[in-house]
Symmetry: C2
Subunit: 187 residues, 2 copies
DNA sequence: ACAAAAGTGTTTCCTATACACCCATGC
DNA sequence: GCATGGGTGTATAGGAAACACTTTTGT
């Protein structure tokens, strides 16, 4: 989602301001966000000297509050159909994509973007979208299972096929335990 | 080197301000610098609301201007003997180390820290210092040579041993060509 | 019966690592 | 002649990538 946020207040950190703005726009809490580097070109905003600290967030498009988005005339775009943005905002988006790809390659960041229950195929499609490349489903499944941070449920999603495909959930507890034991995830 | 820089001016970017401050302190130009993430905790500076954008730079300790450093009472520290710094500045240093390790693992960033001519051993010692781990000299040499961005000179450094060890220089042209061909360096 | 997606193992290759000896020189 | 650091090659193991067929079920 592309949106040019507001200013931050004296009583909050930049992280808090980003969280606040995103909440106003989507009604969502507890969203993964990460700060990118500061944009401070003197003439980037022809009107005023403006220094911007962009953030990117992982928002499950199915979960946001449509009304709020519309109210502020924010909009969703497909990356492949990204329009020309104002000032240097296209650079910001590019930076966000690169950062996301890096992050996703060393952390199971993708789970933030899925519903609580999801299929292997959903997860793979998501990673393929982030990495902009196709992946072999056998190798993908192997890798994910090797991480041992998913729980396979006794339920199937019947939407996508006649056979149905098993649902999984992310095991946050296991994940945190592994991280605290110093494990680094490579995907 | 730990130094708490000055403010930036209306006429410069943050990058430019960082370059300017570093120049004042060391007399050095064309130094590799990278911006870290913004520190904006409301009470990080008990006196004033202060937002800091830390940078780390790669400075060859042999090349800086000692007088200037002293004039501003900046100081060099060994990382293993880092003192308690003011406010959240220790966090900044930690962040810089992590970032440097990452960068060094995917780009031949270490060359910035060496003189124009250096030995394989120098380079290895530098990487060992950055990564805080010992490396096998055969494997190290192999890796570096595989990158094919060094030129072996017909000169030897006679300081470190009786046999002497060959000097190399960094081939910036080759390096840039490889980068522009999309090659990613893994060290 | 067939179309459509799900699920599952093995082989191959390549990269990363471990490892030990000879060389040249100054003293 | 010996002590010091410099230089070099090979064997092995582990991880990544390539690859194809069977299963289930709705129509």
């Amino acid at each position: 989602m592309v949106f040019n946020g507001w200013l931050f207040e004296k009583t909050e950190t930049l992280d808090q301001a980003a969280i606040r703005v995103l909440y106003h726009l989507t009604g969502l809490h507890n969203i993964y966000m990460e700060q990118l580097i500061v944009f401070s070109e003197v003439d980037r905003d022809p009107g005023d000297r403006t220094i911007s600290v962009p953030y990117y967030a992982l928002i499950n498009i199915a979960e946001h509050n449509t009304e709020l988005i519309e109210q502020y005339s924010a909009q969703w775009f497909n990356l492949s159909e990204l329009p020309d943005l104002i000032f240097d905002h296209n650079d910001m988006v590019l930076q966000a994509i690169k950062r996301l790809q890096y992050k996703a390659s060393i952390q199971p960041i993708g789970f933030e973007l899925l519903p609580a229950k999801f299929t292997m195929r959903h997860l793979q499609k998501l990673y393929e979208a982030i990495m902009r490349e196709g992946m072999d489903k056998r190798n993908f499944t192997k890798k994910i299972n090797a991480l041992d941070i998913l729980v396979k449920l006794n339920e199937k999603d019947m939407e996508s096929s006649k056979k149905g495909s098993f649902l999984y959930k992310f095991d946050q507890e296991k994940y945190l335990e592994k991280v605290s034991n110093g494990l680094v995830f490579k995907l």
